[in-house]
C-alpha cells in the first residue's frame, strides 16, 4: 500500500464549507488528520466605513443560523460606543430573543444534523442517514425536532419581524417593544417544548448506552474551557464575566471583564488553513488549547439557575471523572439539550415578567466612546465584536472573534483521535469517514462564522477555454 491522502469533501450536515484530509502511511494508518474551512468573506474589512448603527444588520449576515447572536454582540458593541445603559425592558427582550435562538440552533444541531448518526447509526446507509431518513424511521422524533426548532424561530419572528436576519436590536436597545397581545401565544408554546426536550433527553440517554466507544474517543481529552458566567456563577448566554477553567477544574480566570479579551487569548496561524487557531495566551499554543460552547459553559458555571436545568445538569455531571470537568466532546449533544431546557425555562420566566411589555426600549445618545466591545455566548461559544469608530460613527476598524474558531484546535485534535481509534489500517470505509465527520458535528461548527479556506494537499491542473473560462480542473493527489 502506498502513502495516500483521503479527502472528505465537503463535510456534510454542518453549517458552511469544510473538508477533512487524512494522510495515510504505507500501512494504511492515519498519520495526520486536518479539518479545513473553505470560505473567506472578509467581514473584518467589508464593515469598514459603515455606520456602527448599521452593523447589527450587516454582521447578522455572517451566519444564517446564529444571526441573532451577531446582531446582539454588534448591538452591545454599539451600546458601549454610545456609552449608555440600555433600558431594563430592552435588556430583557434581548435576552429573550437570544434564548429563543439558542433553542432553534441547538435543536437544528441535535435533530437535523446529528440525530441521524445517533439513531440510525454512525456507519448506517448514507442514503438514509439524514433528517429525511429520520422522518421515515423515527417520525415522532423528527416531528419533535421540527416543532422544537419552530418554537425558537417563532419567538424570534414575533419579536424581530423575521426569523432569519431580523433587523431589531440596535445600539441603545431594541427597535420595537413586545406587543402585549402577543404574550399569551408565546407563553403557550413553552410547555410542549419543555416536554419535547425532556423526552428527547431520555431517549438520548437510552441510545448512548451503545456508544461507549464514541464517548471515549470522540474528543475526550483534557483541555481548558472558556465561557461567560453570571456574576453569581450561573449559566449565562448574554452578559456576565469571562471564566477560564483548566482540565482539573481549577479556575484560571475568575471573572475577567470581556473587553479584556486581548489579554486572554491569541490567534495562531497555520500554513494549511485560513481559519485561525486561538489559544489561551498565558499558556501558549501547546498548553493553551481550550474549548467553548455548550460543554464548556456547563463546565465553567457553578449551576444553571433554573429548577429543571439544574436537575439535569446534576445528572450531566455523572460524566465527570475524579471530580474533573466533563472532558468528552461527545457530551456536547447532551449539553445542548440541557441548554435548550434552561433557555425554555428562562423564556417562560421572562415572559411572565411584569415589565416585559414596557415601551421604553431604547436609550438615545451619540458617539461618546470611539471604541466598543460586545461579547455574547453564541450557541457555539463566546463571540466577540470589537469596533473602532470616528466622530461620525463610521467604523474604522473591526475585530471579530467567532465561536467556532475557538474550537479549531480541539476539532483537529478530535478527528485525529477518532482516526486512530477507529482506523483499522486495512481499508477506508464510508462509515469510518462518517465517524470523522461526526467528530466535527459534535462541535456544531458554523463555518460561515469563521473565515478561511481549504488546504488541499494536491496539485491542481486547470484547463482553460480560449476566453479564460474554466473548462475543467483535475487534482493530482
Amino acid at each position: 500500500m502506498e502513502k495516500k491522502t483521503v479527502t472528505i469533501d465537503p463535510v456534510t450536515r454542518i453549517e458552511g464549507h469544510g473538508k477533512i484530509t487524512l494522510q495515510l502511511d504505507e500501512k494504511g494508518h492515519v498519520t495526520r488528520a486536518r479539518f479545513h474551512v473553505t470560505d473567506f468573506r472578509g467581514f473584518e474589512k467589508l464593515c469598514e466605513q459603515r455606520p456602527f448603527w448599521e452593523m447589527p444588520d450587516i454582521t447578522s449576515r455572517i451566519c444564517g443560523i446564529c444571526p441573532v447572536s451577531h446582531m446582539l454582540a454588534s448591538a452591545k458593541a454599539g451600546d458601549a460606543i454610545l456609552g449608555v445603559h440600555i433600558p431594563p425592558t430592552a435588556h430583557k427582550l434581548r435576552r429573550l430573543i437570544h434564548w429563543a435562538q439558542l433553542v432553534q440552533s441547538h435543536a437544528l444541531s441535535f435533530f437535523h444534523l446529528s440525530a441521524p448518526d445517533l439513531l440510525l447509526g454512525m456507519e448506517s446507509d448514507p442514503q438514509e442517514r439524514n433528517i429525511l431518513g429520520l422522518v421515515s424511521r423515527y417520525p415522532e422524533v423528527a416531528k419533535d425536532g421540527i416543532r422544537l426548532r419552530q418554537v425558537g424561530q417563532e419567538i424570534i419572528r414575533v419579536l424581530g419581524g423575521k426569523s432569519v436576519h431580523p433587523s431589531w436590536a440596535v445600539p441603545g436597545g431594541v427597535r420595537a417593544p413586545l406587543e402585549p397581545g402577543k404574550l399569551e401565544s408565546l407563553q403557550a408554546l413553552i410547555p410542549q417544548a419543555i416536554d419535547i426536550t425532556e423526552r428527547t433527553l431520555e431517549l438520548y440517554r437510552e441510545k448512548i448506552e451503545g456508544f461507549s466507544g464514541e464517548i471515549e474517543h470522540y474528543g475526550d481529552f483534557s483541555s481548558l474551557y472558556m465561557g461567560l458566567v453570571s456574576p453569581g456563577g450561573e449559566l449565562e448566554h448574554y452578559d456576565g464575566v469571562l471564566r477560564v477553567m483548566d482540565g482539573g477544574g481549577k479556575i484560571l480566570e475568575k471573572g475577567a471583564p470581556p473587553e479584556n479579551y486581548r489579554d486572554i487569548f491569541s490567534e495562531g496561524v497555520e500554513s494549511w488553513s485560513f481559519l485561525k487557531f486561538p489559544y489561551y495566551k498565558p499558556l501558549g499554543p501547546q498548553e493553551g488549547l481550550y474549548r467553548v460552547g455548550p460543554l464548556a459553559r456547563l463546565n465553567v458555571c457553578d449551576r444553571a439557575g433554573t429548577p429543571r436545568a439544574d436537575r439535569v445538569l446534576e445528572e450531566f455531571r455523572r460524566w465527570q471523572k475524579n471530580g474533573r470537568p466533563v472532558s468528552g466532546s461527545f457530551h456536547m449533544h447532551e449539553a445542548r439539550l440541557i441548554e435548550i431546557l434552561f433557555c425554555l425555562e428562562k423564556i417562560s420566566e421572562t415572559l411572565s415578567d411584569a415589565h416585559i411589555t414596557g415601551t421604553h426600549v431604547r436609550s438615545h445618545a451619540g458617539v461618546n466612546a470611539r471604541a466598543g466591545v460586545g461579547v455574547i455566548e453564541a450557541p457555539r461559544g463566546t463571540l466577540f465584536h470589537d469596533y473602532h469608530v470616528d466622530d461620525e460613527g463610521l467604523v474604522q476598524e473591526v475585530n471579530l472573534v467567532v465561536a467556532s474558531g475557538h474550537n479549531n484546535l480541539a476539532m483537529n485534535r478530535t478527528i485525529l483521535q477518532i482516526a486512530r481509534a477507529f482506523g483499522n489500517g486495512s481499508e477506508i470505509t464510508e462509515g469510518f469517514l462518517n465517524r470523522m465527520e461526526h467528530g466535527i458535528r459534535i462541535y456544531d461548527p458554523c463555518l460561515s462564522c469563521s473565515t478561511h479556506v481549504v488546504g488541499r494537499h494536491a496539485s491542481r491542473v486547470e484547463l482553460l477555454g480560449p476566453s479564460g473560462g474554466l473548462l475543467r480542473s483535475f487534482e493530482i493527489l
Binding site: R13, F40, R362
Partner: protein, 308 residues
C-alpha cells in the same frame, strides 16, 4: 412523478438553507413532490466520491439545481459550473446569488486589503506570509450567479421568506408558472403617507420611528421615509412578507434595509435611492455614506475598489 433537486451553497451564510428548513411541517409536503439528491447541509453526498478518492467535483444529475450565495473563489465557480451542467433549471436563491448580497460589500476593497486586515487584527499572532497551501484562489471580486452561469429563476431575499421558498418548490415540482412579486416594497407597505416636501435631512438610525403604541396598527404609522428614516422600500423588490404580504421589517417597525435587491433584476439600488431622495428635496449630503445603499446588490460591477 417526483422532481429531483440538487442544492449547494457558495459564498453564503446558510440563512437560505434555514429558510428551507423553516418551512417546518410544510417541508414534509414538499418532500412528497421533490427528491433531494444533493444538499450538503442535510445529506451526505460528497463532491469527490463517498470514499474521497474522486479527482474532480461531481454532482448528480437533477431537474432543478438550487444555488445560494455568490461566487468568490475557484471552488464556488467549479460547483456552479458543474451544477449548471447537471441540472435542467437553475434557481438563484437569496440575494447573494441574485445580486451578491452583503458579502459583495467586499467588492469595495482589493483581496490584498481584505487579507491584510484579517491577518493583522489585534489578537492575531504575527505572520510572515499568508496561508497558501492548496487553497482555492479567491476570484478578483464577488460575483452574482448570472455573471458566471445562466440562471433560470431568481428568488431574492435575505433570507427568502419560507412562503416564497415553498411556492417556488411547489411550482417547480408541478411544472406550473412561478409568479413572484415584481413591484416595490412600498407597494405592499401599509403605512400612510402625507406627501412630499416636508423633509430636508435624513435622521440617523440612532433615533426611533414615531408611533403611539406597540400594538397600534401599522396603517396608523406614518411612512418611515417621510419620518426621515432611510427606508429602502421605494427601490427594493417586494415579496419579503410572504403570504402575509406586509413587509417583514416594516412589521417590526424597522425601515426596509433593501434585502430583496432592486425592483428590476438589473436595477441599481444606490442610484435609484439617491434619485428618490433628491427628487423629494432631501439633501443627500445628510447621509453619512452611500455605499451602504448597495449593500445587498454590490455584484454586477456596482461596487468596486476605485470608488473608495
Amino acid at each position: 412523478m417526483t422532481v429531483k433537486v440538487a442544492e449547494e451553497w457558495l459564498n453564503a451564510c446558510a440563512g437560505c438553507e434555514i429558510s428551507v428548513v423553516d418551512m417546518g411541517e410544510r417541508l414534509l409536503d414538499v418532500l412528497k413532490l421533490v427528491r433531494f439528491v444533493h444538499i450538503p447541509v442535510l445529506m451526505d453526498h460528497k463532491h469527490l466520491g463517498q470514499l474521497g478518492n474522486g479527482h474532480h467535483i461531481e454532482l448528480p444529475e437533477a431537474d432543478v439545481g438550487i444555488l445560494t450565495g455568490g461566487i468568490k473563489n475557484e471552488e464556488h465557480l467549479e460547483v456552479a459550473l458543474e451544477m449548471r451542467k447537471k441540472c435542467k433549471t437553475i434557481v438563484a436563491m437569496g440575494t447573494c446569488a441574485t445580486h451578491g448580497g452583503i458579502p459583495a460589500l467586499s467588492n469595495t476593497y482589493h483581496n490584498q486589503e481584505i487579507l491584510d486586515r484579517y491577518y493583522s487584527t489585534e489578537t492575531t499572532d504575527p505572520v510572515s506570509s499568508y496561508p497558501g497551501e492548496g487553497i482555492p484562489a479567491l476570484l478578483d471580486r464577488c460575483y452574482a450567479l448570472d455573471e458566471k452561469i445562466r440562471v433560470d429563476v431568481y428568488l431574492p431575499g435575505c433570507a427568502p421568506h419560507p412562503d416564497l421558498v415553498f411556492a417556488a418548490l411547489a411550482a417547480l415540482a408541478t411544472g406550473t408558472e412561478l409568479k413572484l412579486p415584481d413591484k416595490s416594497v412600498c407597494n405592499e407597505c401599509p403605512t400612510f403617507r402625507q406627501g412630499k416636501g416636508q423633509l430636508s435631512q435624513m435622521r440617523r438610525f440612532l433615533q426611533a420611528p414615531f408611533y403611539k403604541a406597540p400594538d397600534e396598527p401599522l396603517d396608523q404609522m406614518r411612512c418611515l421615509l417621510e419620518q426621515g428614516l432611510l427606508c429602502m422600500g421605494p427601490v427594493t423588490r417586494g415579496g419579503c412578507g410572504g403570504n402575509k404580504i406586509t413587509p417583514r421589517c416594516i412589521a417590526a417597525r424597522v425601515p426596509c434595509r433593501g434585502c430583496h435587491g432592486p425592483v428590476q433584476q438589473d436595477g441599481n439600488q444606490l442610484l435609484d435611492m439617491l434619485n428618490a431622495l433628491a427628487s423629494n428635496g432631501i439633501d443627500i449630503q445628510s447621509l453619512p455614506e452611500y455605499t451602504s445603499l448597495s449593500r445587498f446588490s454590490g455584484a454586477h460591477g456596482i461596487l468596486s475598489p476605485k470608488g473608495k
